[in-house]
Amino acid sequence: MESSLLLQQIVNGIILGSVYSLIALGLTMIFGVMKISNFAHGDYSMVGAYVAVFLMAWLPGWLGWVGSILAAAAVVGVLGVVTERLVFRPLLTRWTDIDIIMVSIGLFILLENLAHLVFGATPRMLKDPFGGAVFDLGLFSTSQLRVFCLVFSCVAIAVLQLFLNRSRLGVAIRATSQNRFAAQLMGININTVYTLTFSLGAALAGVGGVLYGTLFAISPVMGAIPTQKAFVVTIMGGMGHMRGAILGGFILGVAETLGGNYLSMAYKNAIGFMILILVLLLRPSGLFGRRQ
């Protein structure tokens, strides 16, 4: 019985972790390429989740799900371009860390409260197209919705890796991330790369937001939590490291679920920060980053 509960918790942790990975990948990509630490990142997830809320009320069952995810990626991708152009791009030539972080905090306050104005304060839940069906494997069971959530995050992460490793644009993004000036010398238009990266990173958060909405309630103030988690995961994996962010997400998801169950539910949200402080003290370049 005990070991089955443990297994159950680990499965839940992996599912949660896959969502963290997806959102953190967006953050770490944007940081890697543009050196922007965006404290409004989780609000892209919030917007994505609301896109799903409205589309699912509109489209039936499966169609609603697939439609929501595509629409969330599109809407948040466009929002990403708009915010990058209006808010971050003007600072690109003369920024300091303080300016970038401050302007993103301004964006966070703005988006959160605009959402409050438009969507109202009532928390909402996403519909389950499987009608709450459970997937039972004997040792553990989980809802089909959660399995879908896990499978979808993993597919999205794999597609992203393929895009970054195999396509011309993906290679351009990685090159800019490694060395901006060398990339420019090779004829890469880094302004296009910046816009594309920001939009893609935001879209990842948006899609992550839809999946996050299957696990937690959706509200205008929900954005702060994914932002915090994404930063913890990103720093754990080494800022700008893709693989670190993927692994970090799973580690955080499992650590939180186990900690929440065996240590204290009330301090579940503190677990990530404890890990963060430990990582920063012991391995400041991240668990998977290169030692400096």
């Binding site: 808010v87 003007p90 972080i101 302007v103 301004g106 306050i109 409260n113 104005l117 503190a270 920063l280």
Partner: protein
Amino acid sequence: MDARSWRAIAPWAGLAALVVLPLVLRDRYLVHLLVMAGIFVILSSSWNLLAGYTGQLNLGHAAFYGIGAYTSALLAIKLGISPWLGLVLGGLVAACFGLLLGVPALRLSGPYLAITTIGFAEILRLVAMNWVDLTRGSLGLYGIPPLTPIPLPGGKSLTFTSEVSAYYVILVLCLLSLACCRRLVNSDFGISARSLRDDEMAAASVGIDVNAYKLAIFMLSAFFAGLAGAFFAHYQRLVSPDTLSTAETFTILTMVMLGGLGTLTGPVVGAVVLTFLAEGLRFVEDWVKMDVRLIIYGLLLILTILFMRGGMVGLFDRFRRPAAQPGRE
């Protein structure tokens, strides 16, 4: 009168105006707003001390405010310690936590420091929420005694329950902490601190003990926030875990950026303007039937950083001395 004698008189005239202000206003609510503005003057000035003069971005400043408030409130409720002593103790305990956070923060900068300090405040907020035996959790501590009356010769005593009396206390606290900031910034110590903000390695190479400076200012910044928190506890007589929230920190930093980061007057201007703007916006909200206050905060913060670097103080300086602005024809 010539400019020099004006400059000599101006501070005293300003002080006199501040002293008679609540007597002229004669409106309890307006005086209450002045008291709140005073609390935010201390909070934003102390945050600015760290961010504006050493370049360290602490996004957990509200934690120190909350620590000061809880410390003084608990000491008064549980141990019956005088709130006056509590003001100092609240500041000192906050400074100890400042040391605790400041040591790991020495190795961090930019986003690393920002998220660590958010985490620090978040963990403390969770403690305040969940240690129900001590803090009464999300209900908050209530029934906190006000500042104790001071006996005057002749059998009377000076009480501190009214808004006007609280105004004079916070005025004194503001003036003390601002004087302290001013002396610090203009001293050799302050010059060294600024040098490490602008170029840490260069500062270290001329023999400035970078870590000692950062720690000292971290603790001092925490002390003043704790002091403001302790005063707030005995003024509001209710402390809840919300005092430690990130939203509180974000209000403080909006004030500083709006007023002018890295200047002495900026945080003061920002705190007063934003406190009264918030109240003005409440009327607008009643009128348009929408919650627009925080949307405007967010817009203000973004627009200030994009178009008004140096904040209102910077704008004023540019207006007054356009030629002195480098890089401008």
